[in-house]
Symmetry: C2
């Protein structure tokens, strides 16, 4: 029996030579079909973070979900595109049965203290304990790997379409279950742990999936360590649903009102 956290098992990698890695999906982070996209994004980030040529901390991550990832083994290939004075750029591919199922670009940066300013504020929300814990029973496996405490805009999984489109915005506390010290890898996963806004706005469950996801990391390593296992305050909203695609945008806030990550994704949906 492993004493590893399920998240570290789900995102664990073994070097396979030439900067590549072997990995495997984990049922603990399963989605309706295949793995939770956030676990895939996190695994791709881990590939760079564990690479011997990596320099700097994560700044930007884009993942494109090209085709369905099946449960089971996969390979990740990495290509270091350039190491500059301030930034380092990587391109990655996740491959199953010889086919590219996801691509990613990752930028690391050499951060330096300097001008620091928040030009927006964390949303108002009651303390985590004052927000009801969302039951995960009967939902996708990965949902049970987080404590979701909605302050605003909890989803309905009743599967019944609303008479009128609902507000797209949610404000919620999110933390790993069991609890786990935050790191960039788990922050990458949480960046994709917001339910698809179509569900919030429309109510009904139709085939849908994230197509492209971009996350920007604002947190410095000391802020990541300082966050510990404290829940993050998340905000998500969409702007437009049209002709098979919609966007959604998120913020993840940490202790002391520090914005740890922002991100956006575009989602395909049927009809």
């Amino acid at each position: 029996m492993s004493s590893k956290h399920p998240f570290d098992i789900a995102t664990g990698l073994e070097p396979s030579g030439e900067g590549g890695y072997h990995g495997a999906t984990s049922p603990a982070y399963g989605n309706l079909v295949g793995p939770f996209g956030g676990a895939t994004a996190a695994t791709l980030l881990r590939a760079v973070l564990e690479h011997e040529d990596r320099s700097g901390d994560p700044v930007a991550l884009t993942v494109n979900f090209c085709g369905g990832i099946s449960d089971g083994a996969f390979e990740i290939s990495t290509k270091l595109q350039r190491t500059g004075k301030y930034t380092q750029h990587w391109s990655l591919e996740l491959i199953q049965q010889g086919a590219v199922r996801a691509t990613a670009s990752i930028v690391c940066g050499r951060r330096k203290d300097g001008f620091s300013h928040h030009s927006t504020k964390a949303p108002e929300a009651p303390e985590p304990e004052a927000c009801p814990l969302m039951p995960a029973a009967g939902l996708m496996g990965w949902v049970g790997r987080y404590n979701f405490r909605f302050a605003e805009g909890a989803p309905s999984f009743a599967g019944k379409a609303f008479a009128e489109p609902n507000d797209s915005r949610s404000v919620l506390w999110i933390s790993d279950l069991p609890e786990r010290q935050l790191d960039y890898v788990s922050l990458a996963a949480m960046s994709d742990a917001f339910f698809l806004r179509l569900l919030h706005v429309r109510g009904s469950m139709v085939p849908m999936g994230t197509v492209s996801l971009s996350t920007f990391f604002h947190a410095t390593p000391d802020e990541i360590v300082g966050q510990g296992t404290t829940p993050l305050l998340g905000v998500a909203e969409a702007k437009r649903f049209h002709s098979s695609f919609h966007d959604q945008h998120m913020e993840l806030w940490g202790r002391n009102g520090n914005l740890l990550a922002t991100g956006s994704q575009t989602v395909w949906f049927k009809d």
Copy 2:
């Protein structure tokens, strides 16, 4: 003498075999050093749009600026990662003197009429004619290729730091100069035509540059054609400036209150 619009010259490509292209930067869209990043993003999108294997309309574009692009010739290589039933995924590299200077991922999608809803509204702004035209004289070449009419949050190019950080938000009308029928390629360029928020917030001019840029296209081809040469209404704001990087987020609105594109970028800055 060419009767081509300067934008079509700047983003024009010649096939070089095996899905690759030759291109060259254009002084008309020059930045402080090298080309305007929006012209580079637009050129990369054009490479996919002109590719014989492309299917579907642009849905998502991410460009990573790996290293400085010099004025002059470049090569673009394209790799079709996957064509699925609903989406098609591409990876691209822009190469100069044998070095990768930019990478991109582009997703095209087969769009279908269905659920359509705006979950946000266009900002309030006076008509374009009521907003002062920003003088482009003395600024980077590409600035003169657009009419910028700020309704809110015009930049200061005085180069003097503000005593207190200014609001990061701008609302402005933007259109090509000379005027040009909107297409996805020009929409991609306009997605990067918002001045870096550091300038708006801090006032002073320090070395800075976009590192990673992601744009989501919401507009269907009929909306793009219907926009004609009418100015787009843009909104941009930042959320956090910290340890050498800041984010910024943008919306581009078209006729009839349709959101044509949303996007975000992360920007490196010195000190």
